[in-house]
């Protein structure tokens, strides 16, 4: 029994099974466990760790305790233990309540504030590492250590790809490059390479090797591919029992289609001036993240399952990692992202896509409410904020609470595993049933934990 099941799973994975011929197309014959509420995910990853008490989780107590040691502080909580202080640092930004739901949002995010009634804000997130690398691993794969498949890989494995000419798992990086961990952030881990995330560029050639080599016209390429097809069909005919050979033929056809589909999807000049302006493409500050948000909408329109957009790249100073200067850092990061994110939400809504697209906003952890040095905040995995919007999510809702200082998650806590379980649930997958056999056991994204947080659901 067990062996049969494992062999079956591996046969899908390795492209050897009977499904392999279709493996590169459509949904690969894969079905969700139950009716999904969302078909696609756009994960807005605020790399570096945005501060909850300066964005979505107001803490008046920080003013009362300003520059005084807060009782919840423990020295060992800091990542930079020699610089982090026990004293409260009030937020330099004022909060207001927005929309009918009265969700609190700081002055840093004036545009996202307009969409308060769409958001479901989780104020009680917590994670397991206060270091970027392991925390990124956990947010992306459920595990602290590298080597595990990431969320987009799991969704590809569980649901297949709904696009006929684009990959199902696409990553859009910040102008400063990849975060720490590099390619490990979109790794297929122990799954086959077909579940790897594919980084797309929003300008120029979208993916590596997509362009034909220099001096090769489209006709030349077609001639090469036609002769190749003849060769490959002959070999497949000689070995009809190996469906991977059929899959190779399909892969070249898909590659050929991608050569026109990918530049088409990344050609943002096909959008109206109005749209491009709305995403901030006319402005130096917003244009890079804006392009990625617009591209994400174009990708989900075409059926791409999982799009992850990073705000922040390379190391801390070019991300949300506000150790030294919270004000400068968060002002910059919010200025880059606030308008594009807000436009993405309204654009998805006006095109009827928001209903079936789950939008996720958050980082690998949050920030401590106390001082690091005189103006910064250190990492905080003990309590931070995420928000979700769209497909199947309860709009205009606040879930859970942190303690008086925004230091620890306190009520209705949501662990990263719970977040993953809930995301998978919205996509029609039971996280406990979506397993992958590897080295003697069945793995899942939620390890041995995770519960669907039903109160987040519409």
């Amino acid at each position: 029994m067990q062996t049969d099941r494992r062999t079956f799973l591996q046969s899908i994975g390795a492209g050897f099974g009977t499904l392999a011929a279709n493996a590169l197309l459509a949904s690969d014959g894969k079905k969700p466990h139950f009716a999904p509420k969302a078909d696609s995910v756009i994960f807005l990853f605020m790399y570096g760790g945005p501060s909850q008490v300066d964005t979505f989780d107001p803490k008046p107590a920080l003013k009362e305790w300003a520059d005084k040691p807060v009782p919840v502080y423990k020295k060992e909580d800091g990542f930079f233990q020699d610089e982090t202080k026990p004293t409260a640092m009030p937020s330099p930004w004022e909060f207001k309540k927005y929309g009918q739901s009265g969700i609190d949002i700081s002055g840093l995010l004036p545009n996202i504030s307009r969409h308060a009634d769409k958001l479901c804000v989780i104020r009680s997130m917590h994670a397991d590492s206060n270091n970027h690398g392991p925390a990124l691993n956990q947010m992306n794969s459920g595990f602290i250590r590298p080597g595990f498949p990431t969320m987009g890989s799991w969704l590809g494995y569980g649901l297949g790809n709904a696009s006929n000419d684009l990959p199902g798992y696409i990553v859009l990086l910040d102008k400063n490059g990849a975060p720490v961990n590099g390619t490990i952030n979109w790794s297929n881990g122990f799954m086959p390479a077909r579940y790897q995330g594919i980084p797309f560029r929003s300008q120029g050639v979208p993916i590596a090797n997509l362009s034909r080599p220099e001096g090769i016209s489209e006709m030349d390429q077609r001639a090469r591919l036609d002769f190749l097809k003849e060769q490959n069909e002959k070999y497949a005919w000689l070995h009809p029992d190996d469906s991977a050979l059929q899959a190779r033929i399909e892969a070249y056809e898909l590659a050929f289609r991608m050569q026109s589909a990918a530049p088409e999807v990344t050609d943002l000049s096909l959008e109206t001036d109005f749209t491009r302006k709305a995403y901030g493409l006319d402005n130096e500050t917003t244009k890079y993240f804006g392009r990625n948000c617009l591209l994400a909408r174009r990708l989900v329109e075409r059926g791409v399952r999982f799009v992850q957009i990073y705000s922040g790249g390379n190391t801390g100073p070019s991300a949300w990692d506000a150790h030294k200067d919270l004000f400068g850092n968060h002002s910059r990061q919010c200025a880059q992202t606030d308008l594009p994110v807000a436009t993405l939400l309204s654009d998805l809504e006006s095109r009827g896509l928001l209903e079936r697209t789950l939008v996720i906003w958050g980082g690998e952890f949050g920030r401590l409410p106390t001082h690091q040095g005189s103006k910064g905040r250190d990492h905080n995995p003990f309590g931070f904020t995420y928000w979700l919007a769209g497909g199947g999510i309860k709009p205009g809702h606040i879930h859970g609470a942190s303690d008086d200082f925004g230091y620890h998650a306190a009520e209705d806590k949501v662990h990263v595993h719970d977040l993953h379980a809930t995301i998978f649930h919205l996509l029609g997958l039971d996280h406990k049933d979506l397993t992958y056999a590897h080295m003697g056991r069945d793995y899942r994204i939620t390890d041995v934990a995770g519960e669907v947080v039903h109160s987040l659901l519409a």
């Binding site: 690398g133 250590r145 390619t183 070999y235 070249y252 590659a255 069945d442």
Partner: protein, 630 residues
Amino acid sequence: MPRPFQCFLAILPLAVSLPAKEAGHWAFAPLEKPSSHCGIDGFVLQKLEGAGLGFSRKESPGRLLRRVYLDVIGIPPSLEERAAWLADPSDANYEKVVDSLLARPQYGERWGRHWLDLARYADTNGLHQDSDRPNAWRYRDYVINSFNEDKPYAQFIREQIAGDELDSDKAENWIATGFCRNGPSNEENVAKNELEAYRLDQMDDVISTISQVFLAQTLACARCHDHKTDPFVQKDYYQLLAVFNTTVPTYVPINENLTLGKPILVPIKQRSKTKLSEGSYARALSDIGLPPKETHILIRGNHMTPGELVGSGIPSSLSHFPAKFKLPVSPAPTTFGRRLALANWIASPGNPLTWRVMANRIWQHHFGKGIVETASDFGNYGDRPSHPELLDWLACELRDNGGHLKPIHKKILLSKTYRQSSAYKREASSIDPTAKLLWRFPPHRMEAEVIRDSILQASGNLNTEAGGPGIKPRVPSEILEQSKRNTWPKVTNENKEHWRRSVYIYIKRQLPMPMLSLFDTPDPSQTCGARFRSTTPTQSLALLNDEFTNEQARHLAKCVLAGTQNTREAVLEAYLRIFSIAPSKDDLEKAISFVDSRKIAQDGKTDSEKLAIADLAVVLFNSSQFVYAD
């Protein structure tokens, strides 16, 4: 508090039976040599006949030559080698070919690479800044040399687990313990409150790797709780931890005259990066002079909840093996000799797992899959052997003949099983669709390295220089730009330096070489016992459009045109260089007509003939016939 690394098992029925709890589990049974009149072929034929099948006809000489070259050295034969073989494709000459291939240094490069998958080898730390490991290549070369020397397997095991305890005067022994240090690490910024969790994860990497690589047991499952399907309790895991618990990363300077400096032990700290990274040294592991550390069972794997105190030992369910775990007797408390005791227990002729596991790995790489397909899991959740007697016979051959691999290779390569045709047969396929019973030689897609090296061999550009620091060939600029934090050089034009064998490509964990990783080179975060052979459109794009393929195709065209008189000859030579097999008349005519049509399309260009042949070469490099070993 970080949660410890955990595992779970979801789909097993509750009332799962655990036959391995009995000593009767097949992999734990005593290893005795089954009698055989005809060696390998006897065992295979017996199973085939049982299913109403038989061997296929003998493989054609041309195809067999390509098969054995790709298998043993990972490079196709040259035109001269091919011609010499075809002049005398006799059994006696075949044996000579096999002997000469096994004696070539390229054998170690090919088979050493299989071991490097198991050893999760890489040239960078992987975590955080992905810092370089400028001396990691010494371990890679150690592995290649060990295969070339045909080092006894028992010695190979001992050196990698406890080389320093075996003979601390030999640089090679220190370098070998790099096996225990190949996993991902962070030398720059472990969070202070995660230091112990991080250290235990580092230890877990060692325990998990050793138990899977040498014993094909998933012992790391018992870190947090008793193993759910195999007979390992938590105590078994912590007894192994006790063997390694005191060890720390160690650097041994290697001086110019190859003498060793004093080992420098670097305990895990928030920032443990050593200045040493500049010089020459062995990346090793040791616990010389360190006070022994107590080891407790950690309840649910959490170091905040220590339980019972345990000593060094091996799993109790394996204690019935004739091999015994013997710690050195010492009056003073010492850690010295613990790892050697473990290595000796693993490497003992009385450990049936060790020999079965390695015999299976050898078979796996010759035929594309193992007798036990889950090559690193011989537990209850793994596969059963398709040919248990054959496996035991091979294991005994390996164990009883000094642990040398080359004689086993030779037996396999000379077998009828190996030399039969790979052609499909409908009737046989209907009985045994996956050819598990080996009614034919099973065709399979080649590894990434073989594909790249074969392209270089065909174009005449392969640089066979061996050893030394890793090379950094061209990575497409679109990928380099995504990784600004990475320090891969921007290579505009590749040259001979870059055209060395793929085993010498620098392995950067956060920026794996795309041409290789797209074809399933493993993520070196964990040990890999069997690679995937996946098919993706991005793979197609790389092989079709990357400058590497196109440049090598143009080189090939140039060489071919220089040595031939007309298009027909040129096409034939290109075909032979790439496939090592002569085309049928029909194939040749089609290829010529393709080249002619490409010439017309390129009309007006001075080098239209070269471009047309290059087009043909690109197509053939992408063809299934090229990327498959059959």
